[in-house]
Symmetry: C2
Subunit: 165 residues, 2 copies
């Protein structure tokens, strides 16, 4: 990551942080998979991220203020990674990116369901999800109503079980 900017264009500035093959994947797993530990991100990575790449990306996202890192009180060696507000505000981008992938590439059925729900839910669902993430990652008060994350996860598990059968 260069320390100077290629241009002051807002799209370029966003891409200078997010425009690579792994950064958004890591954030996706933290967001939708609620993975908060290094090993968790490493071992459950669908795309098989390498440990050195993961370490590098976490360091970068940390220094750019998209995530934060804290000690896990339950384990001396564990670190908890949390989404910061800028990362939470990527939800609409994830939703559109998922919808685009769904429409224009051949997604597998089980992995498609969450993108579908997110697309159907629209900005109102995204806002609810963002509030939930602020609770989970930033310590904001727990929002009322059914958990969006649980809804997404349950739908995914259901389709996975169904397609496996």
């Amino acid at each position: 990551m260069p320390d100077h900017h290629r241009s002051g264009c807002p799209i370029n500035l966003a891409l200078e942080i997010l425009g690579d093959r792994w950064s958004l994947i890591v954030l996706r797993d933290m967001t939708f998979g609620n993975r908060r530990h290094f090993r968790d991100l490493l071992n459950h990575s669908l795309e098989g991220i390498a440990s050195n790449i993961l370490a590098d990306r976490l360091k970068r996202l940390l220094s750019e203020g998209l995530i934060t890192k804290a000690d896990d009180p339950s384990h001396k060696q564990k670190a908890i990674y949390s989404l910061a507000e800028p990362a939470i505000q990527l939800i609409p981008i994830f939703a559109h990116l998922g919808a685009w992938g769904l429409r224009h590439r051949a997604a597998t059925e089980d992995l498609a369901i969450r993108a579908q729900i997110l697309q159907d839910g629209g900005p109102k669902l995204w806002a609810r999800f963002m509030d939930e993430l602020r609770h989970l990652h930033l310590g904001a008060p727990k929002p009322k109503g059914k958990s969006v994350l649980a809804e997404l996860t349950e739908a995914y598990e259901a389709v996975k079980a169904q397609t496996a059968a």
Copy 2:
């Protein structure tokens, strides 16, 4: 670009095409700068793309079906690149990415105005813009009303002239 997919996740599939430092920059210039020729993309590139990288990305976007290439009848050597429908459907992503960059990074004032207009206009403006792009790139009938591209370009030129003074 690997010929196999890392996973069937729609977000990952989108990132396998768009997740690098240049692809979206090239598409942005074609979309918002209406640049359709190689030299045009090369010489007016704000970020200074290299010719070999540009050639590679155009080839890739072509093979992935995001853009098309045609001879320019006015000049034997000129090729006209056009956005295909999948690329036109990236408009909401550009809008959100710009809005995110605007909010979380330090964009320069002149380059910020288009992202601002796109954000304020919301999905209805995006849809109008997409219809306009279908006219400009796919030969669809010209939509009625004021051109969104002209609106964006004029606003940009105005702010640029103003900040230069």
